[in-house]
């Protein structure tokens, strides 16, 4: 288990590191690493390998919005049921049950503000259990998945030091 955790920590940071390199880093056999990764994939501990892209740099427009959703619970429908229903929309990037004034935080990804406005009005608000929503458009992202999306902290060290 401990080995699995170490492997996951490396992959979480960089999914491109090969089993051979991981084996070298952790002083293990390559086959052993491959086997553990396969097992973790099978058990759905590893869900997906993804690339974090700074789309803004490429000039590609993407609009994100965070929607606070308050719901009415009924005998038949609890948080899980409502959340699952919301999560199934392809536009929905993330759904989280949160504490505070609202019940869910829903992150929605769309091509334009209009897209998202339409989605909220037509899809989310029309769910019978939804009481009210507040939509916050994301104006700019500075940090995502622990990665800074702005230039910072270049290596200023001298080439040779004692």
């Amino acid at each position: 288990m401990e080995r699995a955790e170490e492997i996951l920590r490396i992959l979480e940071d960089n999914a491109k590191v090969s089993p051979k390199e991981i084996a070298e880093i952790l002083d293990m056999k390559e086959e052993e690493v491959e086997e553990i990764i396969k097992k973790l994939e099978g058990e759905k501990v590893i869900l997906k390998y993804k690339t974090l892209v700074n789309w803004e740099k490429l000039g590609v427009e993407e609009v994100y919005a965070i929607i606070d959703v308050r719901v009415n619970l009924t005998r038949e429908k609890g948080y899980d049921d409502i959340a699952k229903r919301i999560a199934k929309f392809p536009e929905v990037h993330a759904v989280r049950l949160v504490s505070g004034e609202y019940d869910f935080q829903v992150v929605v990804k769309g091509k334009s503000l209009k897209d998202i406005a339409f989605f909220v009005a037509e899809k989310i608000s029309t769910i019978p259990e939804v009481r009210d929503t507040v939509t916050h458009f994301v104006l700019r992202t500075y940090k995502e998945e622990g990665v800074l999306l702005f230039e910072d902290e270049e290596d200023r060290r001298l080439a040779i030091v004692p």
């Binding site: 960089n14 070298e24 880093i25 080439a159 040779i160 030091v161 004692p162």
Partner: protein, 384 residues
């Protein structure tokens, strides 16, 4: 007034300084300047920036206008924190015997100047950090170097052979070899120091970067606290290199002598750095662990790769590996730089017995380290 033209200034420079050899590292540095895309494994400095919370504390202190002198010894709060912290290395020093210095470099200098009378012998096991010998010479000592290759550890027999010595300078985990000393190794050195009636100057700057076993301060051995000057600092563990902040823990009389020198030459360590250091000791543990874990991974990877072509002793700590290259180290390093754009430091920069080795610092990203390893292995295979 008489005409004074034609004065040869070189004659006026202190003889000891004039005769000092320039650092071997310096020459190599000149070779690198102007070259582009060099992967440098020549940097004895963490590649992480100072953890953000430490920087925040320093920023706040500046905003509050805390920019004045502190007491010569350093902020009492910091000295107390150091005393508490040092318990993890085996003993709890009296905060009144701690001097906050501008890095370990100052610590070595004032420790040597505090104890050396002209002609006193100072034993330096080599390969070692580049400044021990010059600082000893400047303090007026006669330097006795003890080669430690191939296992890089000083032996009892070699130490006591010197006969009479004022001090022994040790550094573990070691720059450039990465080797550290076990309890048994330390006992052997301590026995030799007692036999020689010598003071040990123990540079423990890499104490937090110990991977194979837990670092123990030699001052924690039975009765050794009275004979050891411990030097440590924040440059390597908390990546605070340019902030120049360290400390010395010394026995009473030596402490008094060191403090006098410190007070006249340095007055006090920079207050901003002292405030950062307090935060580092109080809340820096998680950052430390993160960095240590990363260095450990890099060490494992890099040593394995180098072993494809060299004989390499597994380093116990720091972020250096010192492979045996079986070639002239300066030529090797120079060609590696010109042909493969990888900078390493020739082993002879750390003492004659370091000839035939190179120092590679793995304080670069895994990505760069991989590229550097590919190039070094390729180069070594080609030159056979």
């Amino acid at each position: 007034m008489k005409k004074i033209g034609g004065l040869q200034l070189s004659r006026k420079v202190n003889e000891k300084v004039a005769n000092l050899k320039p650092s071997g590292i310096r020459r190599f540095f000149d070779l690198i300047i102007g070259r582009e895309d060099v992967i440098s494994l020549g940097v004895g400095e963490p590649d992480f920036p100072v953890p953000w919370k430490i920087r925040e504390e320093m920023i706040y202190s500046l905003e509050k206008g805390i920019t004045s002198y502190t007491s010569n010894q350093g902020l009492p709060e910091l000295r107390n924190a150091i005393a508490e912290y040092y318990e993890k290395f085996g003993f709890k020093p009296d905060p009144d015997r701690i001097i906050v210095t501008t890095g370990v470099s100052e610590g070595i200098d004032i420790a040597l100047r505090a104890i050396i009378n002209p002609g006193d012998k100072v034993i330096i096991p080599e390969p070692c950090y580049v400044s021990y010998e010059p600082l000893s010479i400047l303090a007026g000592a006669e330097v006795v170097k003890i080669p430690t290759t191939p296992d890089f550890k000083p032996r009892y027999e070699d130490l006591v052979k010197v006969g009479k010595a004022k001090a022994i300078i040790i550094n573990y985990p070691n720059n450039p070899t990465g080797v550290s000393y076990s309890q048994k190794d330390l006992e052997e050195i301590a026995d030799a120091a007692i036999e020689l009636d010598a003071i040990i100057i123990s540079d423990e700057i890499y104490s937090e970067l110990s991977y194979t076993f837990k670092h123990t301060s030699i001052a924690s051995l039975n009765g050794m606290e009275d004979r050891v000057v411990v030097l440590n600092g924040f440059s390597k563990s908390f990546a605070m290199t340019g902030l120049r902040i360290g400390y010395a823990i010394a026995p009473d009389e030596i402490f008094e002598a060191m403090l006098k020198i410190h007070q006249y030459c340095m007055l006090c360590a920079p207050v901003t750095a002292q405030i950062g250091a307090i935060e580092a000791l109080r809340n820096g543990e998680s950052d430390l662990e993160r960095m240590r874990a990363e260095y450990l991974r890099r060490r494992n990877y890099f040593v394995r790769r180098l072993r494809e072509v060299f004989e390499v002793r597994m380093p116990d700590g720091a972020f250096y590996v010192f492979p045996k290259i079986n070639a002239n180290s300066e030529e090797f390093a120079e060609r590696l730089l010109f042909e493969k754009n990888v900078a390493v430091v020739p082993g002879n920069a750390f003492g004659e017995c370091g000839e035939g080795y190179i120092r590679c610092a793995y304080a670069v990203s895994m990505e760069k380290l991989k590229e550097a390893a590919d190039r070094i292995v390729d180069f070594a295979k080609r030159i056979g």
